[in-house]
Amino acid sequence: MLLYITKRLLLGVVIVILAVTVLFVMIHLVPGDPARILLGPRATTEMIATMSSRMGLDQPLPIQILKFFGNLFRGDLGMDVITKRPVAEIVFGQLPFTLWLIFTAITFAALIGIPLGCYSALHRNTLIDRITGILSIACITAPAFVVALFSLLIFAVWLQWFPAVGAGERGNFGDQVAHIVLPAFAIGLSWIGYLARLVRASMLEVMGENHIRTARAYGLPERVVVFRYALKLAVLPTVTVIGVGMGFLLSAALFTEIVFARPGIGKLIYDSIITRNYPVVMGSVLVSTILFVASTTISDLINAWLDPRIRASL
């Protein structure tokens, strides 16, 4: 197990390094000088040279990459060339908004999706099961930004139940809750369907196992059999699925943050790309990649801990 953990962690680090290198190479390969594009057509050669050196673009590519990683170990992600604030400060200022949003969305999806899947499995092939099945597929296929647009249209513009823009006043908890409802719904909706299907499938599998039959044979009440013995096991796959689904969650968060003009790492990436602020692009993409790699690594480790067969495959 220790060998597996080491290997898996090393793989994670290698992937992050490769990803950053790819980004650097891409910036380098693009026709046109980023500094020139940032400053616009009226910039003088001197201004461009100053901007290039401020962005570190005047050095050879390998040096740039090495420097970036050197600074990274000291927690320094570079400097935002426009506002002259440290990138790390900007990124970590926005990160909590995204994490809260994702967390709320997943909790909301789990609270509805898991009971729904459980109910479907226990009442297999009834009308409600069929309807849940079709609704789940409909939920899964609805793109997050379409759900976001519709919830904005219906609940914020027409009914005016919830605010449309921003993340709420700082320190005002009620206001922040009101602002997170619609974005979390937009991200969570597809996960309701996804979790319902997953839990239904694994619940059906668990209910057929020997220990459930034994529990029933002991004369335990159905409630105890379902909740204490079956559901506990059937919920396990969802943990790993959420870990692997972090990429989808981050992508969905990006769209909803833009639709609801909500601060967060997705909106930060989008805004910095629009303004061609490369240091901020690098920093925010790096942080979200690390977040993604970390969550897939953790879910792989949990999987390997549960199922020894996986350990042999790496």
């Binding site: 891409m26 379409v146 990429g247 992508s251 990006l254 997705g266 993604f292």
Partner: protein, 278 residues
């Protein structure tokens, strides 16, 4: 093939999926015949109208007919989906078979490449690329191809690994068949079934991604109609009219539902074993 179609039609979900897919594909293909108006012709007098006999889905802020734009937008969506999935499939198959059959260092290298690609959240990778190269339809296609290669490659690799040790492959080797012949004649047909199902279930994802990027202004350039750019118009006009949002999302939701229903019933018919692994 006809037998398969008959069996799909017997299931209500499969039939619904098939009907939706055929309907939307036909409406996109025949856009120039069906569309009542020019999708990019401006008509400021009739701007921001609701649905009427003349404009079935209303008009946008420049007075363009939304129904015609939706029909032509379907062409963009299907073009992107078909081209990028075909390309990703071919490259993925090639790399996957190489990884499965080649020496272990090559296998590790290819798998590392796959893992690296998958470590970027797709949309962020797409945004970063578009920021560097500039928005265009071909950029969108390239991004989708690169990010979908690992999905197919991994499936092919696993399938190849299981087939590799079968006796008939060893027999071929003993008879002196070349690697290319083994892969092309013996491995490929065996892995094609699950792959086609995977591809058909990927179409909704790709269509949604194209729409999403166009929504962010990173896909097709205006005035070319795309479902995503119609939705973007709708977003800026959200306090004036709901019709662009409805017009843009309707085909998007219908086609994703259609392909998903179709893919699911295809999977249940062809390869029920996949049900658990997908």
């Amino acid at each position: 093939m006809i037998l398969l179609l008959k069996r799909i039609c017997r299931e209500p979900m499969g039939l619904l999926g098939l009907v939706l897919v055929v309907l939307i594909s036909l409406s996109a293909l025949l856009a120039s015949v069906i569309a009542p108006h020019d999708p990019i012709a401006l008509n400021i007098v009739d701007r921001l109208q609701g649905p009427s006999a003349n404009y079935i889905l209303g008009t946008d802020q420049l007075g363009r007919d939304l129904f015609s734009r939706v029909l032509y937008g379907g062409q963009v969506a299907l073009k992107v989906a078909l081209i990028s999935i075909a390309l990703a499939l071919s490259i993925g198959v090639l790399l996957g078979m190489l990884a499965g059959f080649g020496p272990s260092w090559l296998d590790n290298l290819i798998m590392l490449f796959f893992d690296t690609i998958r470590s970027f959240p797709t949309v962020m990778f797409a945004l970063a690329t578009v920021a560097l190269v500039g928005p265009s339809l071909s950029t969108v296609i390239v991004v989708i191809v690169i990010t979908s290669i690992p999905n197919y490659g991994r499936v092919i690799r696993t399938q190849t690994l299981t087939i590799k040790n079968n006796e008939f492959i060893q027999a071929e080797r003993v008879m002196g068949a070349s690697l290319g012949r083994i892969l092309w004649v013996h491995v490929l047909p065996n892995v094609m079934g699950p792959l086609m199902i995977l591809a058909s279930m990927d179409i909704p994802t790709v269509v949604a991604l194209e729409a999403g990027l166009s929504f962010l202004g990173m896909g097709v350039k205006p005035p070319t109609p795309s479902w995503g750019s119609i939705l973007n118009d709708g977003y800026t006009l959200i306090r004036n009219t709901p019709w662009p949002i409805i017009a843009g999302s309707l085909p998007l939701v219908l086609i994703t539902l259609g392909f998903t229903f179709l893919g699911e019933s295809l999977r249940d018919l062809i390869d029920p074993k996949l049900r658990k692994s997908l």
